[in-house]
Symmetry: C2
Subunit: 124 residues, 2 copies
Amino acid sequence: MPWDLKSDRPIYAQLIEQIELKICSGVYALGSKLPSVRELAQEASVNPNTMQRALAKLEESGLVYANRTEGRYVTEDVEMVRNVKNRLAEDLIEEFLQNMKRLGFSEDEIITVIKKISGGAMNE
Amino acid sequence: MPWDLKSDRPIYAQLIEQIELKICSGVYALGSKLPSVRELAQEASVNPNTMQRALAKLEESGLVYANRTEGRYVTEDVEMVRNVKNRLAEDLIEEFLQNMKRLGFSEDEIITVIKKISGGAMNE
DNA sequence: ATTATTGTATTAACCGGTTAATACAATAAT
DNA sequence: ATTATTGTATTAACCGGTTAATACAATAAT
């Protein structure tokens, strides 16, 4: 899974999202050790400072924690990860519905169209 | 409908989207005259240059056109607007599905959750 | 003991989007 | 004819995110 960063938004914010996603989806398991700042930065092709900034924010929110010279770990708090996952999902859904409605789609139409597309060639 | 611009992405890009939305949803009707650059800029609380930039881009794509000193108009091309609307909807859906899947939701789960939320207190 | 790797911090340069101020030609409105 | 409004253009300043280079203390690995 590539990091696919777009240039139309601050990179550090995108990094936060991507890491949250990886934690929620299990790519980075609960309690597991994260790659080092420098490794992650190289992986994502960004400056270590930028990655550091993203990680610091994630630390604020409690999703990861750092042991000074040992490395960084994903929280063991299952509840917290579940909450983050739910929050992310709700945000995605609300924003999506809002935009579709602005485009002039009704809720029924939205569901119909999603079924059609998600059944189709979407999967890659 | 306010312009609700966020600071985490280039404003001109957001302006383009918002104007596209307003055209697709009929707030700015086909062939109708748009407010002047200065008016629009004031409405959206941005610098006229920034609004001008967004409009210039929309002009490139053909969705609006300018008559030098007369003002700016929405295209009369129904087909074009329909296409834009479909493209915007598809983009929204694809991005949404992609993100939800990354979070670990299956297509069935997505539809279930959308039904639940869209039936609920979403509407404002 | 020495070395390599960890997170962390600092400073300066860079870069693109945004604002600000201003000007101009064309023309609709008066 | 004069005036106001239109889109358009230009230049400089500003600002926040990003990069770059570098350094440091702590400690795991050797």
